[in-house]
């Protein structure tokens, strides 16, 4: 017994729990636990009436902890934390026990065993709550300034939209001119506007803004601070270091086009180009296509070069680069528009002109493009014979029949690969996915946020995207950064690591284990101990197994709490 006054609510979930678990027995067993002074069964604990009843009980019995045994914590943790708060109870003194997804619904065939498990689970919830501590959200101020890294189309668009919100922007670009990959490209799908024109228009607008500062030839070299108040240092082309204070960081560092290895589908032979090289050639050539002084009468495109590769061999380019099928179908229509007599052969694995871009594929087909399908196991070959290029493919749509093409140009439809940004990754402490691109917190629900609060990833820095998708993520990051910076403050979750100064003897193991730089060595009396910077800590607990003294733990998951939960689960049920 700890002298706590804990209340327990057992939810029937309208039969979802009580049909398979004896909720009354669970309540009665909970009532026998030492610190429990109040128990009740509710038909729907999340209903307004039930919450009101629980609030009344918390107030009347002056409860200092509450355990709700209902559905998965994913569904109603926020609901019941808010309920606790309304009752005047610290929301972190509330524990949810998963009695539905992980008990009644999983064990519908054995009511006695499910009830026994339910009793163990509620005991563990009580044990955890008995050792809980009131915690306060950390409120920190935010500075209405943003750093945008990369002045390609996503970075430029982010900067303008942040500026629209009244947020001052420092836009840094490693190259000596803005525009990234898109500037080099000719007409873009779906509306045939030139990449260069799109970029020049955005750059002109950026220059017109008083609250956007563009730094060219400039790289980030250092980042410290926390969400809402980052301190960054950037290196100007002169070598000077410039210090900037910003509240949020948008990472728009883009992609690298895949460069085939020498000999990969004939790469290196005269007349074998990559997709970006063909785009540049088209952008630079007015009128019908000419390559090295010779008119181009036929083109063979080989799709999926560098994308959708087998996972073995260290490369993780298993992903589809998304834009290439649409871009190539579009290019075919551009080439046809310049000279309808050009023969175009598309050697594809699968055509992924998804969504609205299906129309581009239709247009390419109608323009006379021929599509031939190859398989991953039987790749087309590209060689030079008798002074010309020869492409051979076993066409799956012709039952594997060999087809020989003698084109003037072979275009390798190369995908996107992540940029080599090791210094930036180290400075920002951002996680990288197995494919090498920056990784978001949640692919569907938090697509531009990273685990580092206040740092957003947009455009192709996060993974292959076309221009429209890149801009969409750029604007998504602006809405997130705007919400963060315009409010003026942010509340941070207090479930972070904490050091017991009486146990810590500073060995530095936790600091080494922490990927977020959240642990500092500080003086404590006449010795040194570890201290957690709560604003930087992500609460994942990487430091916990590293500590030889069990002196560091995550709030809500302390050694004492987990151990007592294990004891409670292990205890026999009478």
């Amino acid at each position: 017994m700890t002298g706590r006054k804990i209340g327990v609510v057992v939810c029937q979930c309208g039969g979802n729990i009580s049909d398979y678990v004896d909720t009354e027995k669970v309540r009665a067993e909970a009532a026998k636990e030492g610190d429990v002074v109040s128990t009740q069964v509710q038909m729907f604990a999340c209903s307004d009436a039930a919450q009101q009843a629980v609030i009344q009980e918390i107030r009347e019995k002056k409860l200092d902890g509450i355990v709700v045994c209902s559905c998965s914590p994913k569904l109603h943790t926020a609901t019941f934390r808010a309920m606790a708060e309304r009752a005047g109870l610290n929301p972190y003194e509330y524990t949810q026990v998963n009695l539905r997804e992980q008990c009644s619904w999983a064990h519908t065939h054995d009511r006695a065993a499910a009830t026994e498990k339910g009793i163990r689970l509620v005991r563990a919830g009580i044990a955890k709550t008995a050792l809980s501590r009131p915690l306060e959200k950390m409120r920190v101020e935010t500075l209405p300034q943003a750093l945008v890294i990369g002045a390609g189309i996503a970075g430029l668009r982010s900067a303008l939209a942040l500026s629209d919100l009244g947020i001052s922007v420092h836009l840094i670009e490693r190259a000596d001119r803005p525009g990234g990959q898109v500037r080099r490209w000719g007409t873009l799908f779906p509306n045939d506007k030139a990449g260069k024109d799109l970029i020049e228009d955005l750059v002109r607008r950026v220059h017109e803004r008083d609250n956007i500062q563009l730094y060219l030839g400039t790289e980030l070299v250092e980042r410290s601070g926390r969400v809402g108040a980052f301190s960054v240092k950037v290196r100007a082309p002169t070598g000077d270091l410039i210090s900037l204070d910003v509240g949020a960081i948008v990472v728009a560092t883009g992609f690298e086009p895949y460069t085939p290895a020498a000999g990969e589908f004939g790469y290196g032979l005269d007349g074998v180009l990559t997709l970006p090289e063909l785009k540049e050639l088209l952008a630079a050539t007015p009128g019908p296509l000419v390559y090295r002084g010779r008119p181009v009468r036929s083109i063979a495109y080989v799709y999926c070069v560098g994308s959708r590769q087998p996972a073995e061999g260290g490369t993780q380019r298993t992903y589809c680069s998304r834009y290439c099928c649409s871009a190539t179908s579009h290019l075919a229509t551009v080439v046809t528009g310049l000279d309808p007599a050009v023969h175009q052969f598309h050697l594809f694995r699968d055509v992924r002109t998804y969504g609205k871009y299906e129309a581009l594929y239709e247009r390419a087909l109608k323009g006379g493009s021929v599509f031939l399908r190859y398989s991953e196991e039987d790749l087309p070959t590209v060689v030079r014979e008798d002074g010309g290029l020869v492409v051979r493919i076993h066409d799956r749509l012709l039952a594997g029949e060999e087809v020989e093409i003698r084109p003037d140009l072979v275009v390798l439809v190369t995908g996107m690969i992540p940029r080599a940004n090791d210094d930036l990754v180290r400075n920002l402490k951002l996680p990288i996915g197995p494919d090498g691109f920056f990784r978001e917190v949640h692919v569907k629900l938090r697509p531009v946020e990273t685990v580092v609060d206040g740092v957003y990833i947009v455009g192709t820095a996060q993974g292959p995207k076309n221009v429209a998708e890149s801009v969409a993520t750029a604007l998504a990051s602006v809405s997130k950064a705007g919400a963060l910076l315009l409010k003026g403050y942010v509340d941070l979750d207090p479930l972070v690591a904490r050091v017991d100064p009486t146990l810590c003897e500073w060995c530095g193991e936790c600091q080494t284990a922490c990927p977020y730089g959240a642990i500092d060595e500080v003086e404590y009396g006449d010795r040194h101990i570890a201290q957690v910077n709560a604003v930087l800590c992500k609460g994942e607990g990487a430091c916990v197994p590293a500590c030889p003294k069990a002196a560091i733990s995550v709030q809500g998951y302390t050694n004492e709490q987990i151990t007592s939960m294990i004891d409670a689960l292990a205890k026999e049920v009478a």
Partner: protein, 139 residues
Amino acid sequence: MATAETRSPRILVFSTNAISDMGIDLAGSAHMAYSPTVQVIAVPCSGGINPAWIAHAVKSGFEGVFVAADGPECALLPDCVARTAKVVERAQEILKADGLDPQRVKMAAICSVCAEPFVNHMKQFGRSLAELPMATAGA
């Protein structure tokens, strides 16, 4: 008396709030049955599990501990798999030192929709635990 075929060993599962606990929830939502002797404690990340907790569970009467790891999808630790493997390895060392079978600890990545793999793991792990001689250390 229950045989290895019918006995359901008690298993403690460490799941993770953001990923594997959701996969385990999904198994329940789909009414995919596994033994009620399987109980779950959810933590923020499998790379933050203290090996001592695992050892404590085995010494407290759980016949096995299953770490439902975040796997390569962990958003918090890019090297979560390696870190979790290290945690499991250290827990196994503690068990060995106490004369307990290190096979009582098992780890596998369980994704947020890995309902069926979770249930299969529980069945297989349960079967292999049932074949081990009963734990004696600390008893």
